[in-house]
Amino acid sequence: MLALALSLMCLQASQGNADLDAASRAYAEGDYQRVIPLLHSAWRAELWDADIPRALELEALTRAAFDQTELAIEAFEYLLAVSPQFLPDSQASPKVLACFAEARRRGPLGLLSRPEPARPAWTQPPPQPPKPTEAGRPIYQRWWFWAGAAVVAGAGGFGAWEALHPVVPSGSLPGAQLR
């Protein structure tokens, strides 16, 4: 059981690491919109301790790129909690440097108190068209239409069968027609 649990943890961490790598590649390629969803996926799958600073840095840089200043500062605060010696790249943009400076001023946050990352609007699934209501559906998409059609067809078929197969008893002698 212990081995199984360890294997499961390793598997989850590997998945988290793969998502983190994918997020890093997306950031390097400028595909910022994919970064945060991949980071969320990595957090859910679990990350090795060594990968947590990289994940937080990526989140902070991406948030800053989208002008989500408060979220960027918060990410830097968490990052400083796990990696107090962290310093951003000296070539980083002024926005990133400003967020980091503000995080340093506020002080580090504890990871245990980190809330579930909120999903920015651009990571939300596109709005679905409203489902058609019962009143707006065409008549042929309503169950009672087909039920009624089946009843009518059945009755018609029975009537036709009756008409074509009269069940007048014939008797022991041939029948006759009155004039």
């Binding site: 009756e162 007048v168 008893p169 006759a176 027609q177 009155l178």
Partner: protein
Amino acid sequence: MRRLHWVGVLALCGCGPQAGIWLKVGAPLSVPSQCDELDVSVTRGSDGANLLSTPYSLTASTPFPVTMTLSTDDRSDLGNPLTVNAQGKLAGAPVASGTGTVTLESRTLAPLTIVLSAP
């Protein structure tokens, strides 16, 4: 009787005849030694019009009682009492006869039983 009516109603639904008579003729006669022919005639009570006059040859395979369906598509026959006369013959000579009256109803097979007796 109720069952026969039900069968009749079912039978006459749709494109079938307007009405009919489910005729059953019984007689204490053996076929064909005592009776080898049955004449059936139907007359309308209101004007005495002859609606049917049919002879049936009886054989050993059709002993009494015999049954038959007399149907009509003429709506004027409905509601008028009809007199049905059945006469048994042996070698052309009458040996027994019987009469019954029935009134036809729309899309109904009206049952009528006639028992032949010596004239």
